[in-house]
């Protein structure tokens, strides 16, 4: 069997993902490029007796050495030397797309052009002379409409031909003009004499051009200097004629070729009338309407992301902590299992599984929304509108989306940082996201606000949300000046045409992310739950105060003395909050209200429970849709009174005073992000380093702010 590698390259927004999905379907594997947060999609296909290794390169506008994506794409092309490049081109935007094609043709690798989104071009009245384009560039050109799977078969035929008769795909050298060709020749000949080994590793024309351009990465890799005498000799001619900026000169030249080809092949372009994108943008980005429309859109995004997913999360939670736990305990009991084993299985194992499952609805809905925003082109508009504000804390306009979604749940927000372009942006945004007060903190607020600030509940609650935002701005400033001094993100961004993404693509993408989360993050979350069980229950059967967690709490409690809550109970609960911030409340309930009355369980049979579970699922669906149309408020941001917590409330009133209670809430708001956030960071950034930073930075920040509030409050006489 013959084995070939096919790389798929193209501009962002050229419909490359849809094309890949159309070619590979369910064979697609999603992972990361080694060491970076850039998605890598691959697929193994079998075409008759040919094994095709399909690799999707990151979407890029060029093959410059400046963005991570570009470096990955060109490294793969230069070092792995695929047998064929499928260059996906947006037919409605020929010139800029051909600029990349021109660079691909320098690599001496056969290229096939997929003239994608061909239907839209036709609708716009753009007529492209395909035969002429093939002749000018010396490559095969296949019109495709990936959304309708048109042209896919022809593309695959081309792949087959490359495998069987590669000589048919001889790469034509585009003529860069006498001067440059002469310079290339000088460099190539010099390399042949002095560095013959390099020419067997790299495509010689590409290498010569990079050396002429003074490409820093290539020079470094080859251990060469920009002022090498043969380079000087080769460039000498130009420097006299055109000045010394070879990089600009070559960019002009490549665009010149792209421009010439475009002019030659576009037979007719009626694209003079205002298209739908312009019409939408006139309203959506309007000076006066822009902001209100934007806020409305963001409100909708938030409402769908959380109010819609919450009933499903709640349902899974109650199913697991209710019937599933009950019947597992029942079954274990009837086998005569020891009490500690039942506790380990139900409170450890099943609770651990539950902790993973409750994230599924929210991550699924949020990934769906983000993919929709990206695919439709609206994400670029969000960035356009918000950049001014985000830029002041050293971030890119696109950071707004992960930050906003952080109010619902920080975990998917960490995954959402992937929409950002640079590693620095992603990390900085990920460090600020935990300051957005997430839904898991609400149960803590609810109980303390209920106990101490019932009359001013909304004010106290909003003060916490606001404090989180203010601290994000402060921390953003500090990090920008200290740890993340690196290059602030440039904002040079295409506003792509609005397009309706394919529903199937959205589902596939969401499913891939979800699968990734459950497999990769699930294991860790599960393990942490078990560890927590052991902390709380070893030695088994002792008072909570003498458990491992209680002892740990006691040891660290002096740290919280200056903040007004230096008790072992409070510090143990804070430690337990590492799992999820709402666990602070459940732990407090376990510690403070030990004599809690036996829960009145209704005696229900197994089948009754089964029926109830089914009914409550139907109810969850109804609630989810009901939430969407239930008016303006956002449920996920509101406090919910929990009746059964009254004993804990009165207990707390005896231990905290209003000032220390508020300080405690501030501390819970700001202190270490939960471990699931950490797992998401590990997944996205490849190491635990960022989570380590977050634990440290946020805990110090929380302590300092809480200290100022508590001591300041006392001075003022509260």
């Amino acid at each position: 069997m013959k084995n070939i590698t096919v790389a798929v390259a193209g501009n962002p927004n050229s419909g490359k993902s849809t094309l890949i999905n159309a070619i590979a379907g369910t064979n697609l594997q999603v992972g990361n490029w080694p060491g970076v947060t850039v998605e890598k999609k691959t697929a193994l296909l079998k075409l008759e007796n040919i094994q095709v290794n399909l690799v999707d390169l990151p979407g890029t506008y060029s093959l410059s050495p400046y963005t991570q994506e570009e470096v990955i794409a060109r490294d793969f092309l230069v070092k792995e030397k695929p047998d064929l490049i499928i260059d996906v081109i947006d037919s409605t935007n020929l010139e800029r797309n051909l600029y990349l094609t021109v660079q691909l043709l320098e690599l001496d690798i056969p290229v096939v052009i997929a003239l994608n989104i061909y239907d839209e071009a036709q609708k716009k009245g753009i007529i492209i002379d395909i035969a002429k384009l093939e002749e000018l560039l010396g490559v095969k050109v296949i019109p495709t409409v990936a959304t309708k799977r048109e042209g896919i078969k022809d593309l695959l035929d081309a792949v087959k031909t490359v495998a069987v008769e590669p000589e048919k795909f001889k790469v034509k050298k585009l003529n860069y003009g006498e001067d440059i060709e002469e310079a290339i020749k000088i460099v190539e000949e010099e390399l042949k004499i002095k560095k013959a080994d390099l020419l067997s590793q790299y495509p010689s024309r590409w290498l010569s051009l990079k050396l002429l351009e003074g490409d820093k990465l290539v020079l470094k890799e080859l251990n060469l200097n920009e002022d090498e005498s043969f380079l000087k000799k080769a460039k000498h001619h130009f420097i006299e004629a055109h000045g010394d900026d070879m990089e600009s000169l070559l960019a002009d030249l490549r665009y010149g070729i792209a421009n010439g080809a475009t002019r030659d092949v576009i037979l007719k372009d009626d694209n003079k009338r205002i298209d739908i994108t312009e019409k939408i943008d006139r309203i959506v980005l309007n000076r006066y309407l822009g902001i209100p429309i934007f806020l409305l859109a963001m409100w909708l995004v938030f409402k769908i992301a959380f109010d819609f997913s919450k009933p499903f999360s709640d349902y899974l939670d109650s199913l697991i902590s209710g019937p599933l736990t009950k019947w597992t305990a029942y079954a274990l009991n009837s086998f005569g299992s020891a009490e500690w084993l039942i506790s380990l299985v139900t409170d450890g194992v099943i609770a651990g599984v539950g902790a993973v499952l409750v994230f599924i609805p929210v991550i699924a809905v949020m990934m769906f929304i983000i993919t929709l925003l990206e695919g439709s082109g609206y994400m670029a508009r969000v960035a356009f509108v918000m950049d001014r504000l985000m830029h002041t804390i050293g971030l890119h306009g696109k950071s707004f989306i992960p930050m906003l979604l952080g109010f619902g749940c920080n975990v998917p927000s960490i995954y959402a940082t992937r929409i950002l372009e640079t590693e620095r942006d992603r990390k900085l945004t990920a460090l600020l996201v935990p300051l957005m007060s997430c839904g898991a903190r609400l149960p803590v607020y609810a109980i303390f606000i209920g106990a101490f600030f019932a009359e001013n509940a909304p004010t106290v609650l909003w003060s916490l949300y606001l404090l989180g935002i203010v601290m994000a701005i402060v921390l953003g400033f500090i990090l920008k000046k200290t740890l993340y001094t690196g290059f602030a993100p440039v904002f040079i961004m295409e506003l792509p045409p609005y397009r309706m993404p394919m529903f199937r693509d959205l589902l596939v993408h969401t499913w891939q992310k979800l699968k990734h989360f459950v497999i990769k993050a699930g294991t860790y979350i599960f393990a942490v739950s078990i560890i927590m069980w052991f902390l709380l229950n070893t030695p088994y059967g002792v008072e909570k105060e003498n458990s491992a967690l209680g002892k740990l709490g006691k040891t660290i409690s002096p740290v919280f003395e200056p903040l007004g809550f230096g008790t072992w109970e409070a510090s143990s609960s804070l430690v337990a909050g590492l799992i999820a911030k709402e666990v602070v409340v459940t732990t407090m309930a376990q510690i403070y209200v030990t004599e809690e009355a036996e829960q009145k369980e209704e005696e229900k049979g197994f089948f009754e429970d089964l029926r109830d579970s089914f009914l409550s699922f139907i109810l969850a669906i109804k609630d989810a849709f009901g939430n969407l149309i239930s008016g303006f408020g956002i449920k996920s941001l509101a406090l919910e009174e929990e009746e059964e917590k009254t004993p804990l409330k009165s207990k707390l009133q005896g231990i905290f005073d209003p000032l220390s209670a508020y300080t405690f809430l501030v501390f819970v708001l700001l202190y270490w992000p939960c471990v699931v956030v950490g797992i998401a960071m590990k997944q996205e950034f490849g190491s635990w380093k960022l989570y380590g930073q977050a634990l440290l930075i946020h805990s110090i920040l929380a302590w300092l702010v809480a200290f100022v509030i508590y001591q300041g409050g006392r001075l003022l006489g509260f």
Partner: protein, 75 residues
């Protein structure tokens, strides 16, 4: 005149890009090259960035970057 100084609706020809390194290369890769005709289409509701049409597509850049681009108004 600088690109950042153009008003909405004005067309201009690019004369030179006075920045260096990554920003310059990025701008060139996106089609901002000498002699190219661009048009300022919109300014973001908060005053920055701006939306220009170049090579028949929409590109948004901050005024900061637009300040480094020398242009000549043609319309």
């Amino acid at each position: 005149m600088r690109l950042a100084e153009l008003r909405v609706g004005q067309k201009a020809k690019i004369l030179s890009i006075n920045t260096k390194g990554i920003i310059k290369r990025r701008l060139m890769d996106m089609g901002i090259i000498n002699g190219e005709i661009i048009k300022v289409e919109k300014i973001a509701p908060l005053g920055d960035p701006i939306d220009i049409v170049v090579k028949n597509y929409h590109l948004s850049i901050r005024k900061e970057e637009a300040n480094g681009i020398e242009v000549e108004v043609i319309e």
